[in-house]
């Protein structure tokens, strides 16, 4: 059984997480960073969930110290504040996952994330859908020309089925464009294909799409077999756009916009092997508005 430590100065959050997580894991809770470090000296631990704003050591600093001392421990931040304000901090402290404290709290989402991080099973849209889900379609993109047809086919499916697609047309377009033009690299790491040109992909450059839904959300996974996207790149791109530094150029705009437009954007990376971007929208506005940061690396 995995062992999890919860660090939060708000008692109701500690007990809430304890009650939920102890059904599946060994769980301990502490109220600040000092006590957390102390506890970790004496107890084995696989994963730490820490609040950001606490008296004493702040969450990011705490997680940084933990990673220095115990590199095997997985770390996750949790906050009631606007996560966009913390992207720069995430860049500085090497944080990949920030969970929003929504009301009502999204236990399902937390469980999915923790399970993925602990088991290293992160790839695949179905992992992010509830147990009872439906895969609507899968498609393989072999050329830039055909990517438009696939995008239309998927958005049409959503529209017909749910009467809504949100901004999926735009976000799929942005992410697929990245997968076609930015993922394939030459030996010297230069981009292989020029954007806005018609491209025929080689079999190992094909982009795989999966669309599906469960009773609360629908979404699409866009997977490339290159694995050239890096966590630092993602954070850098999101950060500069949040700080309006990227207005004059297009670099990273796709990732930033997709995160803004989709209710959820999850980025799974297995370096030099594959990259998956999952975009999901909720049917109801309950969990909308709080944008988590999810970058999973194995």
């Amino acid at each position: 059984m995995h062992s999890i430590l919860v660090v939060d100065d708000e008692k109701s959050i500690r007990t809430m997480l304890l009650d939920f997580l102890e059904e599946r894991y060994r769980v301990a809770t502490v109220e600040n960073g000092e006590v957390a470090l102390d506890w970790l000296e004496k107890n084995p631990c696989d994963l730490v969930i820490s609040d950001i704003n606490m008296p004493g050591i702040k969450g990011p600093e705490l997680l940084y110290r933990i990673k220095q001392r115990w590199p095997h421990i997985i770390t996750v931040l949790i906050t009631a504040y606007n996560i966009n304000d913390y992207i720069r901090m995430a860049k500085t402290y090497d944080i990949c996952n920030i969970i929003p404290k929504t009301s009502p709290f999204n236990f399902d989402e937390l469980q999915t994330l923790l399970h993925g991080l602990l088991t290293k099973e992160i790839f695949g849209l179905e992992r992010y859908l509830r147990a009872r889900h439906t895969i609507l379609t899968t498609a393989v993109i072999t050329s830039s020309q055909q990517s438009r047809e696939v995008r239309e086919e998927i958005t049409d499916l959503f529209q017909k089925r749910f009467g809504m697609v949100g901004e999926m047309r735009l976000t799929i377009d942005e992410i697929v464009t990245n997968a076609i033009y930015h993922a394939p690299r030459l030996a010297d790491n230069r981009q292989k294909y020029q954007e806005f040109t018609e491209v025929e992909l080689l079999p190992d450059e094909y982009v795989h799409l999966t669309a599906g839904f469960d009773d609360e959300k629908y979404g699409v996974s866009i997977l490339d077999g290159q694995g050239s996207l890096r966590r630092e790149t993602v954070l850098y791109k999101i950060d500069r756009h949040i700080h309006e530094e990227g207005i004059m150029d297009d670099s990273g705009r796709g990732i930033h916009m997709s995160r803004l437009f989709a209710d959820r954007m999850i980025i799974n990376i297995q370096a030099n092997f594959k990259t998956e971007v999952i975009l999901m929208n909720y049917f109801s506005p309950t969990y909308r508005g709080f944008k988590p940061l999810y970058i999973n690396e194995i």
Binding site: I13, T15, D19, A80, S103, P104, F105, F107
Partner: protein, 416 residues
């Protein structure tokens, strides 16, 4: 808003005109203003032709200056009868000059049967000093807002025989000032609420999360049916508080640029399909969409939020009217058009209308006509802020039983 240099220029021009006028009166020792009408006849008695020429020239210069002033000016006598007006005055009251002269200023300019209360001209006549009154508007609140200044014209004996009334249209200035005050108010409230909302979010998340845990695993907590019942109530209350908190966050959130070229017609239809209100289906919806409307750059989520909010308000207004008139048939008309540099969406309803007394307050934060618990009073305030972020506008007109809210988005703007 008129720039400072324009105001200075107008002031100088006005002073020059007044000085010329007084000089002219002194020079000719004119006591009878009847002869000072707007035709070019001159009361020149027993003077040489050179003097007459100079006087005529002087009068022409004076009139040109007088008419060049773009603010309305009138000379009135002790009975408020108008002896002279400039072109701007005539344009403002939309009457030819001959039809104005001899009538009273309160009738011509203000449409009243007797002098206005606290008329500055009255003060000028009584004291011989200049007087002024600021922010004067028509009783029915139609038309503009004016600053009025009155200056005495004295005869040789020092008696105030006439009064120059200088009217400055400050409608636009006042509008800008109101907007400024409103946006400052919004900014202050925004900063304040952001802090409160996030602080609230923390315990609220704990409360609702704990309640959800307890409802999900009642045996774990040894809960009986009554306990489950009470916990449900806690969860419901927490949800309600969450809605308010989200409104507050929405209102205070730093703007994120999510602009995209957007078809407003599609946005209107999407907003319409996003509304799930009791009785909404029974309301007749009329769509008058301009098919040629070009897409505009905007944040579609936020603009949809504005439209949804306005349609919801319209539907609630209709429901309010139906509460008193059960047979009443409500209609919501949604139209899109182009107005100058703006793309425009109108949301009209035939509800009870907005009472005049609250019209000035409807965009204020926390102003609501709904009973406590039914609204946060932030809806229109958020709409206002969203439109402001888009360099657009939100306007409304409420006459009898027709209320129209219009949102205007710049057609060639950089977006929010």
């Amino acid at each position: 808003m008129a720039s400072h240099s324009t105001i200075l220029y107008l002031g100088l021009a006005f002073a020059a005109a007044l000085a010329l006028y007084l000089l002219f009166l002194r020079y000719k020792d004119i006591k009878n203003w009847e002869s000072l009408d707007n035709d070019s006849r001159l009361p020149v008695k027993g003077s040489g032709p050179e003097l007459a020429r100079r006087i005529r020239l002087s009068k022409q210069q004076l009139e040109t200056t007088f008419d060049a002033i773009t603010d309305p000016i009138a000379a009135i006598d002790g009975e408020f009868k108008i002896a002279r007006v400039n072109k701007s005055y005539a344009q403002h009251v939309n009457l030819p000059i001959p039809l104005i002269l001899g009538r009273t200023c309160f009738a011509v300019f203000w449409g009243k049967k007797q002098p206005c209360p606290n008329c500055p001209a009255q003060t000028t006549f009584a004291t011989g000093n200049e007087a002024s009154k600021k922010n004067v508007s028509h009783d029915d609140d139609t038309g503009g807002c004016y600053d009025i200044s009155t200056y005495p014209v004295v005869d040789r004996a020092g008696t105030t025989v006439n009064c120059i009334e200088y009217i400055r249209d400050v409608t636009e200035e006042k509008h800008m000032l109101d907007q400024l005050i409103r946006s400052e108010k919004l900014a202050t409230v925004g900063v304040m609420t952001a802090g409160i909302a996030h602080e609230m979010n923390n315990p609220l998340s704990g409360i609702s999360g704990t309640a959800a845990n307890m409802l999900g695993m009642p045996q774990k907590y040894g809960l009986n049916e009554k306990g489950i019942n009470r916990i449900s109530t806690i969860l419901e209350s927490a949800q309600r508080a969450t809605v308010i908190m989200k409104d507050l966050l929405n209102f205070s959130r730093k703007q994120e640029s999510r602009e995209a070229l957007q078809d407003l017609n599609a946005l209107v239809q999407r907003a319409l399909s996003a509304i799930h209100l009791g009785g909404f289906n029974a309301i007749k919806k009329e769509l008058l969409l301009d098919k040629k409307l070009a897409p505009v750059l905007c944040d579609p989520v936020k603009i949809e939020q504005v439209i949804v909010n306005l349609i919801t308000n319209a539907a609630q207004a209709i429901a309010d009217r139906q509460a008193h008139e059960p047979a009443f048939k409500g209609v919501i008309t949604l139209s899109t058009t182009t107005t100058g540099a703006f793309a425009r969406v109108d949301i009209a309803d035939n509800g009870p209308g907005i009472p005049e007394a609250i019209r000035a307050k409807i965009f204020d934060p926390f102003f609501t006509t709904r009973p406590p618990g039914e609204g946060t009073g932030l809806g229109l305030c958020i709409c206002y802020k969203i439109m402001q972020d888009h360099q657009g506008r939100i306007l409304f007109e409420s006459r009898d039983t027709t209320t129209v809210f219009s949102i205007l988005l710049p057609r060639n703007a950089p977006g929010p």
